[in-house]
């Protein structure tokens, strides 16, 4: 009997070639950065897009998050890239959710909102954070531009079955401890390449109690442990999220779909190549100190000392990371001041994230000298947040309330760190220069980022919110 991944995989095998299978891809999401060369390749080869109706296009990486963005995008290259996406979508008959569309947002956030991501499907995007969508019990993975072109042309991809890992999380999360803290601690435990070659299924009572938003945060960062795929078996929480969404199975098909989805979860006797167990009942909020997502520690900790590391390669990596981050071993994490705070990204810009951050921001003020941005993940998240009054909470506290997009996650649009600036960020990568050349990133949860904003330093949100 098999894992959920293997069951979905087997259903999508078109044909085989040696150890590879031609895997049918049910849906593809495209954004402006990794698709222009793919459409160009099709044009040069004279190939059509095989199934335009299976594709959704949205600009997100380059879009400014300021109100005048529909009228003007100052950066010529950004403008051209967004324009190329429009032309390519129009030319191929692919649906485009453009900048002015009320649904526009980060590709991994708008897909689920549309009901595009369903249990049991295969879905790809030219973006490593596509694993986010595995939260619905789907095979969802990031691909390069050549593979984007391949899927556009053939609605399928040659793939090798990955090894299977199960991460079982048990125990009730303490107040103000979030799925972000769980996934950061998983990455710290298995390392930035611990998941390479694997699909990781997250299981256990802690995951079962998580909302779809929380599950998406978990799967989103699976790639930071090296695994292209993260997935969680579908259940009543999944079905309730999906019901009534535009592309969810309509009445008349819904019952059959749910019956099918209930057959997907991994069998009790499924074989796992690796198992990891995590007791989350004592888990503390986590923060990163270095330049790899694996550099996460409980917020009560201190910057580690490379001298205590025996492995010379790791010692060298840590030394380099501390130099880049401008940190000294032994410094308490809560003594590190921040210049900027970014609440957003495909990791943590859904409604639940904004609620959690707003609960900390409410009645408090952003610390003097700190610039704090809240960037909803989509137009629909923004609308809902505004209906709930979260925008007022943030604005009253001195946060900026922006339009949806990837924003300060990756340094491709005007929201960037300057060299030397230090940021408390709810995004997914703390690589050198990720948020702008010379910028320094500390990854954390939305409530932790809000706590950093109001204290002006990395802070234990449990003390701030007390």
């Amino acid at each position: 009997m098999g894992t959920m991944f293997a069951k979905i995989w087997d259903r999508h095998v078109v044909t085989r070639r040696g150890g590879d299978v031609l895997l049918y891809i049910d849906r593809q999401l495209v954004h402006e950065v990794t698709s222009p060369q793919a459409f160009e390749g099709l044009r040069l080869a004279g190939r059509p897009v095989r199934r335009p109706g299976a594709i959704l296009a949205v600009p997100d990486h380059n879009v400014p998050t300021t109100p005048d963005r529909a009228e003007r995008i100052d950066d010529r290259e950004s403008r051209e890239q967004i324009e190329a996406l429009r032309k390519n979508a129009l030319g191929a008959g692919v649906t485009l959710i453009d900048i002015t569309d009320p649904r526009q947002g980060i590709v991994h956030i708008i897909g689920p909102e549309a009901g595009l991501v369903l249990p049991g499907i295969t879905i790809v995007c030219g973006d490593s954070h596509t694993g986010t969508l595995g939260a619905f019990g789907a095979i969802a993975f990031g691909i390069g531009t050549s593979e984007v072109e391949h899927v556009l042309a053939a609605q399928s991809l040659w793939q090798k079955m990955p090894r299977q890992m199960r991460v079982t999380v048990t125990g009730a999360l303490r107040p103000l401890v979030t799925p972000k803290d769980v996934i950061l601690s998983v990455i710290a435990r298995i390392g930035a390449s611990g998941g390479t070659g694997y699909a990781i299924e997250f299981a256990g009572e802690t995951v079962r109690r998580m909302s779809m938003e929380g599950r998406m945060t978990m799967c989103n960062m699976t790639i930071e442990a090296g695994a292209r795929f993260g997935l969680i078996s579908p259940d009543e929480i999944t079905f309730a999220y999906l019901k009534g969404r535009p592309l969810a199975p309509p009445p008349g098909m819904w019952e059959a779909a749910v019956a099918d989805w209930k057959t997907l979860p991994s069998d009790p006797d499924a074989k796992w190549d690796r198992e990891v167990a995590l007791d989350a009942s004592a888990l503390e909020p986590h923060v990163t100190w270095g330049t790899s997502p694996q550099d996460a520690l409980p917020v009560g900790g201190a910057v580690p000392d490379p001298a205590a590391q025996a492995d010379p390669g790791e010692k060298d990596r840590m030394r380099r990371a501390l130099e880049y981050m401008g940190l000294v071993p032994g410094t308490r994490l809560t003594d590190i001041p921040v210049d900027k705070v970014f609440i957003g990204s495909c990791t943590n810009a859904r409604i639940e994230d904004l609620r959690a951050a707003a609960a900390v921001a409410k009645g408090r003020k952003v610390a003097p000298g700190v610039t704090a941005l809240v960037v909803p993940g989509s137009g629909l998240v923004k609308k809902q947040a505004e209906e709930e009054g979260l925008d007022r909470v943030f604005l009253d506290a001195g946060f900026q309330w922006r339009l949806p997009g990837c924003s300060m996650c990756l340094g491709m649009n005007p929201d960037k760190l300057k060299a030397g600036e230090r940021c408390a960020s709810t995004s997914n990568r703390n690589f050198e220069g990720r948020q702008g050349p010379g910028g320094r990133t500390h990854l954390m949860s939305p409530p932790m980022a809000a706590a950093a904003a109001v204290t002006g330093r990395i802070a234990d949100v449990r003390e701030v919110a007390r």
Binding site: G18, E149, R320
Partner: protein, 208 residues
């Protein structure tokens, strides 16, 4: 059609770092291009140049003895992070045709093979000895023999590597993978018909 890959005899370029991520290989601001070429300027930008745009003399790619080298030898988990194929395009624009490392990220590894770039996985100790040799004698040569699946280091040390047979054929012949897949179009058609019958809810077009 991709460039064919058979044999390299070239200066080896050591990059003694682990977890080299694709943001380091090519920063995001260079991804705004709609072309596959012209990316060599951005390759390892923050490591190659200082804040004033001057070359950092110590960085291996800037040292005269390594210039023109076509094999990069690096630490584990090379190419982790983003799926950006621009990382491979930038390495190739600069002149690299092969990367040797103890491990690669899955997406980067795939992206290499799609572009005629050879990712060679060798045991960590072998890679470290290659790096040490290249650091000790800058400019010394490394041979990569794809048909024979071997790497020959500067001291005559020979390391065998494994590679998926189909990937090997594609590299050797510079094959266009999409053209090959199109031969399976009848199977894709048949699969699609069956899938549509079984899960009709997946075949409603995405509303605009």
């Amino acid at each position: 059609m991709r460039e064919k890959f058979t044999f390299l005899d070239t200066a080896g370029v050591p990059l003694d770092r682990r977890n080299v991520d694709t943001d380091a290989i090519i920063p995001a601001r260079y991804l705004k291009t709609i072309k596959r070429t012209g990316l060599e300027e951005g390759l390892f930008f923050a490591w190659r140049y200082d804040a004033d745009g001057r070359e950092r003399p110590d960085f291996p790619l800037n040292r005269p003895s390594y210039r023109g080298g076509r094999v990069l030898v690096a630490g584990e988990n090379f190419g982790c992070g983003s799926s950006r194929e621009h990382a491979v395009w930038a390495l190739m624009d600069f002149g690299f045709r092969a990367v040797i490392a103890p491990s690669f990220s899955d997406i980067f590894h795939n992206n290499c093979l799609k572009n005629g770039m050879l990712p060679v996985t060798l045991p960590a100790a072998d890679v470290q000895s290659l790096i040490d040799a290249l650091l000790a004698a800058p400019g010394c040569r490394v041979e990569v023999d794809l048909p024979g699946q071997t790497v020959k280091g500067p001291k005559g040390d020979v390391h065998r590597f494994s590679i998926d047979p189909f990937a090997k054929t594609c590299l050797l012949e510079g094959l266009d993978e999409i053209a090959l897949t199109m031969k399976s179009a009848p199977e894709i058609d048949r699969y699609e018909r069956e899938r549509k019958a079984a899960t009709p809810w997946l075949f409603r077009d995405i509303p605009g």
